[in-house]
Symmetry: C2
Amino acid sequence: MITAARDDGAEDIPAPAEFDPLELRKALGQFPQGIVAVAAEVDGHPEVLVASSFTVGVSLEPPLVTVAVQHTSSTWPKLRDRASRLGISVLGAQQSELTRQLASTDRAGRFHGVERRIDGERALVLEGSPLWFTTRMHSQFTAGDHDVAVLEILDFGYDEASEGLVFHQSRFKGLTPLE
Amino acid sequence: MITAARDDGAEDIPAPAEFDPLELRKALGQFPQGIVAVAAEVDGHPEVLVASSFTVGVSLEPPLVTVAVQHTSSTWPKLRDRASRLGISVLGAQQSELTRQLASTDRAGRFHGVERRIDGERALVLEGSPLWFTTRMHSQFTAGDHDVAVLEILDFGYDEASEGLVFHQSRFKGLTPLE
């Protein structure tokens, strides 16, 4: 570990670690993550961002979730600044192809044929998702090269019969109960 | 949706939603989450906290992860305030029983028979985990009834052959590639 010597008697503070980016990504890929579509209608057009750095149960009172988004995202500023509500749809095992489409670089085609609902505030949720929320911004903070949005749940629905989906080791995977 | 009328011309701000807590928990349980053990040696004793509100890829430069911990946790203040480094071990499919043991209310028995390694700064990681990190606190913020700790990765290791584990619909589940 690299440490930067200090002469003020305080604990030595290590310099930021420098990792091989590919090796770090491969390591992080060992953590199974659910996937969500964050979406709203902005100026009459549906906008969506697919994220895997999403967490529920950040708080129960009030009910909060978080999502981390790269600073380089061009969709996030629209959703953050021009949508008063954000829909969050958790993607299920039947939606792996849909997930790829929603994350496509072909922005105009992302919603092609996608069944969705929109609430009075233009939050957008996908039909057939195992779990969805409508949310509003609670607070935001910066963490390195990402923004972390803390979102308050205003409404939710779920379908227990839906099968879960995670991204793990660079692949979509389904879930099976352990013995 | 309940809205609180305002007479200053600003957008109506809905009151916090009041949900049936059991129904909310059941909904949140539809989101598959990986599980981690956050651990360190504090005053010569191993301390551990099992968390499912954990996210990787919050930032790559610097490499940051987040974990959300309830304010009522009695272990978290020890780890937060009295450990200079925190070990994070992602739990794998072979470790579901270990996960239960580490989360047990029998605090003295949590590490009974558990193989672990400790680094020079007393961060503690579990042998056999698919992925582990040693971290230090980067920043913290409060989100409702939880603290969210943003942790900087100082070191990591992984085992690609390990099988992943998620908690979903109140059960431990393994992962299987989709066709």
